[in-house]
């Protein structure tokens, strides 16, 4: 009896609070499950895929998936125009798309956080310079800037990562700057200054840890946007190059066969949609669970 009461009175740890709030959000849990599924597929892709993604099967050109007439269970989701197994390509593409998305988030997050910290902490001319840069980059429609940068760097997966990352940086700069500007007026920052902490120490080990929640939310949403933009570049021929089994590139390859072999178009896009949707659901759930202003 006493113990139970004590339990009720003990305040929840931040993690418990977060977990309860997140677990209540059905959409977010479903999104997380789908996401974990794709991550598992991505990690185990070399063992999971029935065939090599670039293996050509002679005579098995543009076979439909097993559930439609003419298809067989040897190629569950059918084959493409040169006789490659679509399922194997999709499975290998999972690792690629998720990896590309994570690289984009890491690059843009690190650079965006550094500049956002500097702008928010030092203010004045540093802030003005950084914000002018973000204004200019944000004035350009994101896909336009990404394709121009990708065209300059030349087509390819790594260059596409850079192109999409550059476009995403201003989002992080603006977010981190706003957070830092709010935090730096707090008493704990003054206390740190009083005991003689240097600028870098205050920025990195005092202010930054208090800004993590919104940054995590932004990174999740940035991951979905990154995957989408990288796939769009692949689709426009500026991202991963054939025969790489990247989803966007697969879509571009499949386009000429749209009329007779719609499955070649359907599955890669469906994968992109599912991953992006799952990430958006998780992102929304994280925001609701982490943002104290939205808490019930």
């Amino acid at each position: 009896m006493e113990l139970e009461q004590a339990k009720e009175l003990t305040p929840q740890t931040p993690f418990q609070e977060f977990y309860q709030s997140f677990a209540l959000n059905k959409g977010a849990v479903i999104g997380l499950a789908v996401l974990l599924f794709f991550i598992a597929v991505g990690i185990s892709s070399p063992f999971l895929a029935p065939y090599d993604p670039t293996q050509l099967f002679d005579g098995a050109y543009r076979l439909p998936p097993f559930f439609s007439s003419g298809g067989n269970t040897k190629f569950l989701l059918g084959t493409d125009d040169v006789g490659r197994d679509i399922l194997s390509r999709l499975i290998h593409g999972t690792a690629l798309s998720l990896g590309v998305g994570i690289m984009i988030v890491v690059v843009s997050l690190v650079l965006g956080t550094i500049f956002g910290l500097l702008a928010g902490y030092f203010g004045k001319s540093v802030d003005r310079t950084v914000m002018r840069f973000t204004d200019i980059v944000m004035a350009l429609p994101s896909t336009l800037l990404a394709i121009v940068v990708a065209a300059i760097l030349g087509p390819g997966l790594v260059n596409a990562v850079w192109a999409v990352s550059i476009v995403a940086i201003p989002n992080y700069i603006r977010l981190v700057r706003a957070l830092v500007m709010a935090e730096k007026k707090r008493a704990y920052v003054m206390a740190a200054q009083a005991y003689g902490a240097g600028h870098i120490r205050i920025m990195v080990s005092e202010i930054l840890p208090n800004c993590t929640a919104p940054i995590i939310v932004q990174a999740t949403l940035g991951l979905s946007e990154g995957i989408l933009n990288a796939a769009a570049l692949g689709f426009l021929g500026l991202g991963a190059q054939p025969p790489t089994p990247e989803w966007g590139t697969m879509l571009a390859d499949a386009r000429p066969f749209l009329e007779n072999s719609p499955w070649m178009v359907t599955f890669p896009g469906l994968c992109i949609l599912l991953v992006v949707l799952a990430l958006n659901l998780v992102g929304d759930g994280l925001r609701d669970a982490l943002d104290p202003r939205l808490k019930r």
Binding site: A139, L140, L144, I147, A151, L238
Partner: protein, 336 residues
Amino acid sequence: MLKAVLKKILNLIPTLLGVSLLAFLLIRLVPGDPVMLLLGERGADPQMYTEMKRNMGLDRPMYEQYFTFLGNIFQGDFGHSIVSKRAVLTEFFDRFPATLELGIMAMTFAITLGIPFGIIAAIKRNSFFDFTLMGAGLVGYSMPIFWWGLMLIIVFSVKLGWTPVSGRIDVLYEVDKVTGLLLIDSWWSEDGGFAAFKSALSHLILPALAMGTIPLAVVARMTRSSMLEVLGEDYIRTARAKGLPYARVVIVHALRNALVPIITILGLLFGSIITGAILTEMIFSWPGIGKWIVFSINARDYPVIQGGVMMIASLVILTNAIVDILYLWANPRMRH
């Protein structure tokens, strides 16, 4: 008010200058020599090379090139296309109406469906309708439109045969360019009239649907959350209490106040329309700005990329500024 507007306009100048510098530098970052690229395989003649380099102004120092570029822009000269030899500005305005028509149609689709959907979802909060709609909204919001466009073609053009696969109008009809918007111009075409209009409309529907899907989802979600906020206000309860019909309360009292954030979002969506236009126009072979830019990039038509990026960015910056000013006008509280 006037002061705030002036400040906004003055603020545009450094941003526009920055964009011009960015557009200028981006093109010069391209690895390789543009002159060699132009001359191609046979361009080994050194005399021809120097002459061409001088003609393009590439022999002068970088800062001089930039000021020439900037000076020309002020005179309305955005350079000439290497491929077609025509002025970039002329090329831009030749294609702009196509993108505009597509954009207007897509936004009309997004607004006329999105606002009512959002209102109903807000009124019937937590109902089956609300869940379905918001679920669909999230799917729409996550949609890779380059895939969505292809799926629409598979279903409506290939399987059902309802709409054409690509282009703006059937080759049968020759439409004189007046406004550039085919839905309007087609009425006066000699051999078409209504038939030409129908053809233009059937070509427009699928691209507009593909391009309008994300804005539709954004508008519906925004309307719902904005309405929910307003519906909880005291004045709504007062209006209900004095016995006004519910529809009147929702449409007159609530919607009017809920519209402010919705209008802001619509302004911000303009930038994403250009993004959507690039992908949509590539899928449907729609002869607008987006397809023009992608083709120029593939053809390495540097003046067009430079001038086109500059034009598009200016357009987006100006629209955002207008939205900001409208917002100030609608919200006196925001003026300071």
